[in-house]
């Protein structure tokens, strides 16, 4: 099993079709296949999306070496620590980063343009790719919202199983084009390449996201599909402003994931894109991307329903893929029933749960503890309530910040909120909140406390509420709670 099998099938099934577009350049599936054969090296990449990305991914697969896309926002000293874990390494880099990176031990730095040049008119590769399904395909350094980055290990068997379990070969019509605006070091960026190639859907790359550039490229390239993280969708909705429609007549499907989507954003997006099929995907780096999907029909049914139980599904991440099992368990590992809150465990061929140098964290039966807290209703709809580590324990009572944040967000003056636990002598932990108000609105701490108390138990009422201009998010839209907490406590994070 090897990722190259997916590309080989695409190249033989529809080789002359466009596979990937970046600016004025396009590669067909056959060209991508031949370029991958020329690109043999142990590869890492420090760059925005370019044609070098799919070539580097499949070229590494062909060579039987891991591909490690790195976060181009990191500084040299941060990168040095990451690269040291994957040497010897052939590092494809944006040309303006090359000078800064020279001298890294056991690392050959190659500017992107020279790498692309090498793959432009390749001789036919004289060997096939390794078939061992246990070879490492991709190493992804996880975003590390709670500490030092770890390298998640995705083997060929995980990624190929994910694609075979979720995509039908050649199912995309020839005009289909998917806009990829997540960075290469995000699992959604890697998964998008593999699923698009297998479906036969052209990839349109947007190297640096801005809402205006996204809208312009979507129009110019007649984009039919796109994946966005919540921050991106929020900015797109904002950029469209008061217009009554988004004016993207070709757009058919918009999927989102990678963090919690604020309900006002998704509701506004559904108004602006009335003919578009929305899907919410839940997945992790360690699970080769998507585990559960709230599909277009779920969105429409939930949005149109008066039954609060069904309407609430708009805030769920949908149901598990057919190839994935999900369980909710308590702290002792006992399985919980419908609507009971606990930690989310998942199992399936696509689940790796492994970090470089630390082995896999699957139990004997193959279950992976996601460290995400949540619940599942009787119909299998999964609700995510944040990281299990974020759970606040006040006087022995467990509470999830997400539940309190949702109530704060329902207040008309609140634009954004973050709830964290802070040390408390009496209770062990106390509930604290940081709130961003809407422009032109004001609200006081006691008013918000009364608001929460009227809707939740008094133990869940924040004993301290502070106001800020903005909350800290990482670039893929994850709230950095540890920064919120550190700032409240006057610590340096």
């Amino acid at each position: 099993m090897n990722l190259m099998m997916l590309l080989e099938m695409a190249a033989s099934g529809f080789g002359e079709r466009a596979a990937v577009t970046n600016g004025a350049q396009t590669l067909t599936y056959s060209e991508l296949f031949r370029a991958a054969g020329a690109a043999i090296s142990r590869a890492a990449m420090l760059d925005v999306s370019s044609l070098a990305l799919p070539i580097g991914l499949f070229g590494s697969a062909w060579a039987g070496v891991p591909f490690a896309p790195l976060n181009y926002r990191l500084t040299r000293s941060e990168l040095e620590a990451l690269v040291a874990r994957i040497t010897p390494c052939y590092l494809i880099a944006a040309s303006d980063r090359v000078e800064e990176l020279t001298g890294l031990p056991e690392t050959t730095v190659v500017p992107r343009e020279r790498f692309l040049e090498r793959t432009r008119n390749p001789a036919d590769a004289d060997s096939g790719w390794p078939m061992d399904p246990d070879e490492i395909a991709v190493l992804l350094f996880t975003s590390g919202t709670t500490g030092a980055p770890k390298a998640a290990v995705l083997r060929h068997k995980h990624l190929v199983s994910y694609i075979l379990g979720s995509v039908e070969f050649g199912s995309a019509p020839e005009a289909a084009a998917g806009l990829v605006s997540v960075p290469p070091y995000h699992i959604a960026g890697i998964a998008a390449i593999a699923s698009s190639v297998y479906a036969g859907r052209r990839i349109v790359q947007l190297p640096n996201f801005s809402a205006e550039a996204w809208l312009e490229l979507a129009r110019a390239e007649r984009v039919t599909h796109a994946f966005v993280v919540p921050t991106m969708l929020a900015r797109i909705v904002e950029a469209i402003g008061d217009a009554r429609s988004a004016d993207l007549p070709q757009l058919q499907a918009l999927s989102y994931g990678g963090g919690k989507m604020p309900q006002p954003v998704i509701e506004r997006a559904m108004q602006l894109f009335p003919g578009v099929a929305f899907s919410n995907a839940y997945g992790l780096t360690e699970t080769s991307s998507t585990l559960a999907i709230l599909g277009p029909d779920d969105h429409r049914t939930a949005a149109a329903s008066d039954d609060p139980k069904i309407r609430r599904r708009l805030t769920s991440v949908g149901r598990a893929l057919p190839s994935v099992e999900v369980q909710i368990r308590d702290e002792s590992g006992n399985r919980l029933g419908p609507d009971e809150r606990g930690e989310i465990y998942v199992r399936g061929e696509q689940v790796s749960g492994e970090y470089l140098g630390r082995g896999a964290s699957l139990d004997a039966d193959g279950w992976f503890p996601t460290r995400d807290a949540g619940s599942m209703d009787a119909e299998g709809y999964l609700f995510i309530e944040g990281r299990a580590d974020d759970v606040i324990v006040r006087g022995g009572e467990n509470m999830s910040p997400g539940e309190i944040e949702d109530v704060l967000l329902e207040h008309e003056a609140v634009a954004d909120s973050a709830v964290v636990g802070i040390p408390d002598e009496q209770w062990g932990e106390a509930v604290a909140a940081v709130v961003v108000t809407r422009p032109g609105c004001s609200v006081t701490e006691p008013e918000l406390q009364a608001w929460v108390q009227a809707r939740l138990r008094s133990s869940r009422t924040p004993q301290r509420i502070e106001f800020r201009d903005a909350l800290p998010y990482n670039e893929t839209g994850k709230l950095l709670r540890r920064l919120v907490r550190a700032e409240l406590l006057g610590e340096t994070p």
């Binding site: 075979l164 998964a191 994931g257 599909g295």
Partner: protein, 103 residues
């Protein structure tokens, strides 16, 4: 043909068909393509064989084939003229259940 393992790639001895095993029952599986036993993807086919007329409906790239019991599933990675069968019973095309695109 012995027991099949998930991820194993096999080729037809009489046509261009290649498959990957997606799911397989325990125990021996008498898998044929074009009427002849399938062989390992890197094995040389025996000389002098040809596609049997009763097993010549062909295989299609990217399609999945299943047995009646539903415990054997193969993915066609290269198409050919022969048909897939187990113990003489032709495998059938598995209906695709489309999922919304998520990435």
């Amino acid at each position: 043909m012995g027991e099949l393992k998930t991820g194993t790639r096999l080729r037809s001895a009489v046509c261009a068909t290649e498959v990957m095993v997606i799911a397989a029952p325990k125990g021996d599986v008498a898998l044929t393509c074009g009427g002849a036993p399938m062989i390992g993807v890197n094995e040389e086919p025996p000389a002098g064989l040809s596609v049997a007329p009763e097993a010549a409906k062909g295989t299609a790239l990217g399609k999945r084939y299943v047995n009646e019991a539903g415990d054997l599933e193969l993915l066609c990675t290269k198409p050919g003229e022969g048909s897939l069968a187990v113990g003489g019973a032709l495998l059938s095309l598995k209906e695709a259940k489309p999922l919304p695109s998520s990435d």
